[in-house]
């Protein structure tokens, strides 16, 4: 598998990136918007897709050159033997609890006070096996509970807001801007979403590519990564740039975009963070065992 991706990209050929339309991947759009890609001589086009399970096959067979994914969603196929490598960081787990844009929320006057109490409750995640699910399951397990006793429900993030407000679900995972929306609707944060589970200050959302492609086109990849790094840098320093991109490409209302808590845009993918994430997954039975993070990162984690 994966030889379909082993194509050589020439100057000016379109480079396609499969992007999940959430704030975590704003640097991709910033790099386009600011012309960082074209400065590097790259003709980058985005392709909006729903999840990593849809993006990975496209990257594997060369329809897409890069894809975005949460760490967990990236580790799953990579651990199964798909020749995927992480090439660039997008968003990092917050370094302190309060800065975590993701959260597990419960209704306004919920009796639930700790993750263990989610047992037997209806809890919403955006998709089965997603990072939202991994976080919540790990939270429950870490609190001494049994994730399999939770009644998981998959629904799109916007639908959770109403459902939680009306008490149809007992808890929900949210990322921005939905965390804010939930809170506006009266929901209460039970726990930060990512901070307690994953390595603080390290990547939870990244850009990946296929190994054969990386091997064949090292300069292209290098150029792509450095353009992204510039964009991340800008995003870190100037939140307004992120807001602009969200309004322009994400169709978000300016006031919503401005109000939301932004993630920390990272600079490199730490193999150790991937190893840690894989341990969490293995612990939940989603992987047969932990995976060595260095095998998942381009050049074993040496930042170009």
């Amino acid at each position: 598998v994966g030889q379909g991706s082993a194509i050589t990209i020439g100057k000016g050929d379109p480079i396609k990136v499969g992007v999940i339309p959430v704030v975590d991947y704003a640097p991709v759009y910033i790099a386009i918007e600011r012309g960082y890609f074209s400065d590097e001589g790259l003709n980058v086009q985005t392709q909006v897709m729903q999840n990593a399970a849809a993006i990975a096959p496209g990257v594997i067979n060369g329809q897409l050159q890069f894809g975005t994914a949460a760490t967990t969603a990236f580790i799953a196929p990579a651990a199964k033997g798909l020749p995927l490598v992480a090439v660039a960081d997008q968003a990092d787990v917050a370094v302190d609890e309060a800065a975590d844009p993701a959260a597990v929320l419960v209704g306004a006057d919920s009796a639930i006070t700790r993750p263990k109490e989610l047992e037997g409750k209806t809890v919403a995640t955006n998709a089965l096996g997603s990072i939202a699910y991994v976080s919540m399951a790990a939270l429950v397990k870490g609190d001494g509970g049994d994730p399999s006793k939770v009644s998981w429900v998959a629904m799109p993030f916007p639908d959770m807001v109403g459902a939680l407000a009306e008490g149809r679900i007992d808890a929900a995972f949210a990322n921005e801007p939905f965390t804010t929306l939930h809170q506006q609707a009266g929901a209460v944060v039970l726990s930060p979403g990512l901070f307690p589970v994953f390595t603080p200050g390290e990547s939870y959302a990244l850009v990946f590519s296929a190994k054969p492609f990386v091997e064949k086109n090292p300069e292209i990849v290098e150029a792509f990564v450095s353009a992204l790094a510039k964009a991340s840098e800008l995003a870190r320093t100037d939140p307004q740039v992120v807001v602009d991109v969200l309004v322009k490409y994400g169709g978000m209302k300016p006031e919503v975009a401005a109000a939301m808590k932004q993630p920390t845009f990272g600079d490199n993918v730490d193999p150790a963070a991937l190893t840690q994430a894989s341990e969490v997954m293995a612990d939940l039975g989603m992987l047969p065992g932990p995976v060595d993070g260095t095998t998942l990162v381009m050049d074993g984690g040496e930042t170009p």
Binding site: P158, L181, G250
Partner: protein, 251 residues
């Protein structure tokens, strides 16, 4: 038509009422007026029309291809008991496979492209029409086939002048069913698999929590289906003028 418009207006008014009274949580579902406003805005943007066209074009292309395939399979299978029985298991086995389950496979083979979309549409929306055609072949009046045989109309003329009109009532129903399934698959693959179109816009609006736009887009898929159906209804009326279902003189 007037009554239909009335019914639509009643439903919309009911929706608005539910929103205004708060039965329908505005966090979950925006009000009819908000959605209508979003739809009006959509109509003014060129990206919307491009998406609409992308969705419609794939659905129509898929529909055209699957019609061809269904007709060929139905013709072969209804003419030969051997073929019919031999392929029975395979068709009955393939039919329940959800197109959603095939999206990753489609992406692997064709990437997030119109080809992928059209292939999935063809596979997913083929069965209703095929099923209808097979049932239709059983509903052909034996007397007309007797006439065709006794005057030796031959295969082509029998097909054109006897079989085709006979199966048309079932076939048109089947096409209408397949058409809306085609639209649904088109939108759903766009949502998941990222090919351009209304589905992708829905996902973007969803991520941005722009619910009025999201529901506006969903309404647009409904309207798309409605329009395709209007075309089929007109086609039925002119193609089936002889059929009891279209003949008002019987009442």
């Amino acid at each position: 038509m007037g009554l239909g418009v009335l019914a639509v207006l009643i439903v919309l008014a009911g929706w608005q009422l539910l929103s205004v009274t708060g039965v329908l949580n505005e966090q979950a579902v925006p009000s009819a007026v908000q959605v209508a406003a979003a739809m009006l805005t959509l109509l003014g943007t060129s990206t919307f029309w491009a998406s609409m066209w992308a969705t419609l074009a794939s659905a129509l292309a898929g529909l055209a291809i699957l019609t061809g395939i269904a007709v060929v399979i139905a013709a072969l299978v209804t003419r030969s008991k051997f073929l019919y029985e031999s392929t029975w298991f395979i068709f009955e086995f393939l039919k329940p496979i959800p197109p959603i389950a095939l999206i990753p496979l489609g992406l692997l083979l064709w990437g997030p492209s119109p080809t992928m979309k059209i292939t999935l549409i063809t596979f997913g929306a083929l069965w209703p029409l095929l099923t209808q055609l097979i049932y239709a072949s059983r509903a052909i009046d034996g007397v007309s086939l007797d006439v065709a045989r006794s005057y030796r109309l031959g295969l082509a003329r029998t097909a054109r002048y006897v079989v085709l009109p006979s199966v048309l009532p079932y076939a048109l129903t089947g096409l209408r069913i397949s058409a809306s399934i085609a639209i649904i698959i088109s939108v759903v693959t766009e949502m998941v698999g990222g090919a351009a179109g209304i589905g992708q816009d829905i996902i973007v609006a969803q991520s941005a929590n722009d619910l009025p736009t999201m529901y506006g887009l969903i309404m647009m898929t409904g309207i798309l289906g409605l329009l395709i159906n209007v075309i089929f209804a007109l086609a039925s009326r002119s193609l089936l003028f002889w059929h009891p279902s279209q003949r008002e003189d019987l009442r």
